[in-house]
């Protein structure tokens, strides 16, 4: 007589039939008892890209559920912002949200503030900001792709990515003295004008960097082992992605052609020609890890295109002429979102008419993208959780704020 000891429905994880059935012991004719197990991944696991703890509920090798635990790096950004004595002081804190793409964060904050203050910034400032934001997209994607390779067991591409990143950081350093956290974009202008050799250096970088993308593709993107590990893994369907509010390359990887630079243009992005790469499911299904990876590679090419156009059109002018002496917006509120390397970064700023902000709320793209992780991981293998997490490209500084 067969006695099944386990109570749950065998061979299924959620609605997915895994094809696994309990092993029977020969001679005994009885199913082995099986139960779910809880495993902690992190907070110190190298592939979690920071202090993130994932509580994995697994059935053998198959993930039944993932419960992310965040907040280890919570630094009370929003509380700090309310305590500041003026709006300008918030900018260094904004830098520290997504610390690998600090320029993009500043960009979002300053254009939100300029909208609230109704300031029109000089053309030169707009161009320099766009160039810096695109540089920062390249930097962020290089880290994302390099460390993703690292997660998948490819060490060399990481070093190549870091080498190329240095060239951009050198330009940043020459411009504003800092390599990681810049405090460069100010409300109404910039802290410094660029160096006289900026255009020359930027052109040289564009020329240098285009072949490096081809190199990265040869080294990692089409590498058979890497494709096996990522193609068809962690598929995020487009309607699920939209419902979860997922944005940025993670959304575009699912085949949704949505980029704020085109769909809701801000600053001067409507002046440049560039493409929006989307996932096409070339190696597996649309919305798998490889698609999300490839969207980032292609976005770097597009960023180089934007930089190359902007640097040729860079007008002359004073970058500090529009900086207000005293920042005191009228009572009111504004919500502005921009396309950062990770997704839609939004700033909801409420002013009560005084010199310090009443409320500064960040819509952190990584936080929202991470909330879709359990939906993607259910039914996957444990090793694929690493692949999915890496392909979402999170930065804990922004998730925990």
């Amino acid at each position: 007589m067969d006695v099944t000891v386990t109570e749950k429905k065998e061979g299924t994880v959620g609605d997915v039939d895994t094809g696994r059935r309990p092993a029977t012991i020969p001679g005994l004719g009885r199913a082995l008892r099986s139960e779910e197990m809880v495993i902690n991944m992190g907070p110190q696991h190298p592939s979690t890209h920071g202090v993130l703890r994932l509580e994995l509920i697994v059935d053998g090798e198959i993930v039944v559920d993932v419960i992310p635990h965040i907040g280890y790096l919570h630094r009370c950004f929003e509380k700090h912002a309310e305590q500041m004595s003026n709006y300008q002081q918030v900018i260094p804190y904004v830098d520290r949200l997504d610390y690998v793409a600090a320029m993009s964060n500043e960009f979002g904050y300053v254009i939100a503030m300029e909208k609230l203050l109704k300031i029109k910034v000089p053309e030169r400032v707009e161009y320099i900001r766009v160039i810096m934001a695109e540089f920062s997209r390249i930097v962020s994607h290089l880290i994302a792709l390099g460390t993703y390779g690292l997660d998948m067991g490819a060490f060399t591409p990481f070093l190549y990515c870091m080498r190329d990143r240095e060239h951009v950081l050198d330009i940043f350093e020459e411009t504003c003295g800092a390599r990681l956290l810049y405090n460069y974009m100010w409300i109404g202008g910039l802290s410094h004008d660029v160096q006289p050799n900026f255009q020359e250096k930027t052109r040289a970088f564009c020329e240098y960097f285009r072949p490096k993308i081809v190199e990265l593709n040869e080294l990692l993107s089409y590498n058979k082992i890497f494709v096996e590990r990522t193609a068809g893994v962690g598929v995020l369907p487009p309607e699920v992605a939209i419902n979860y509010g997922v944005s940025g390359p993670t959304l575009r990887g699912s085949g949704v052609k949505w980029d704020l630079r085109k769909n809701d243009p801000y600053s001067i992005y409507d002046r440049f020609t560039f493409e929006i790469p989307v996932g096409k499911g070339i190696k597996g299904e649309v919305g798998d890890c490889w698609d999300r990876y490839m969207v980032r590679v292609q976005e770097m090419e597009q960023s180089v295109n934007i930089i190359a156009q902007a640097v040729e059109q860079l007008p002359e002018g004073d970058v500090q002429s529009a900086i207000p002496k005293r920042i005191r917006p009228e009572a009111g509120e504004v919500y502005v979102r921009t396309e950062t390397p990770k997704g839609d970064l939004g700033f909801y700023i409420v002013s009560d008419g005084t010199q310090s902000p009443y409320r500064v709320k960040v819509r952190p793209p990584c936080f929202i993208n991470l909330s879709a992780l359990p939906a993607v991981c259910r039914g996957a293998m444990i090793a694929d959780v690493v692949a999915v997490l890496g392909s979402i490209d999170i930065v804990l500084g922004e998730i925990d704020r």
Partner: protein, 159 residues
Amino acid sequence: MIPQEMFDVLKASFGDAILEAKLDSVLDPWIRVAPDRTRDVAKFLRDDDRMQFDSLMLLTGMDYTKGRIGVVYHLHSMKWNHKIVLKTEVGVEQPHVQSVEAIWKTANWQEREAFDMFGVLFDGHPDLRRILMPDDWEGFPLRKDFQVPEFYNGMKVPY
């Protein structure tokens, strides 16, 4: 669809649940909704053909002081490319707001954060617990009257 039309449609469908609106604002026009009807209104806004607000951009708590806290929803329709802001307000004694988690999954974590920071209780949320602060933290840090405790688990808090 312009905000005025949205307001008229909502008013016709929900009547008393639509409290007031500020539609002439150049920045972000908003509509105030009764806290116990937010889910119905959200469902209507998502599913109605003229609205199709398929994405909830931002959900945040707010402290309006004088014992009032609120929730702000920034909605966007990818199909029609229009936006609207919904607001709702409750007293701190009974801070119950209907959850919209069933409408937009993205609200799950954002509502947890609003609960964590402001103590808004979202009725119908499947997993309402703290997200950024530790589970045993007392008080709601982003409320304007929040006092930083002197000690947390025996550790001195103000540095």
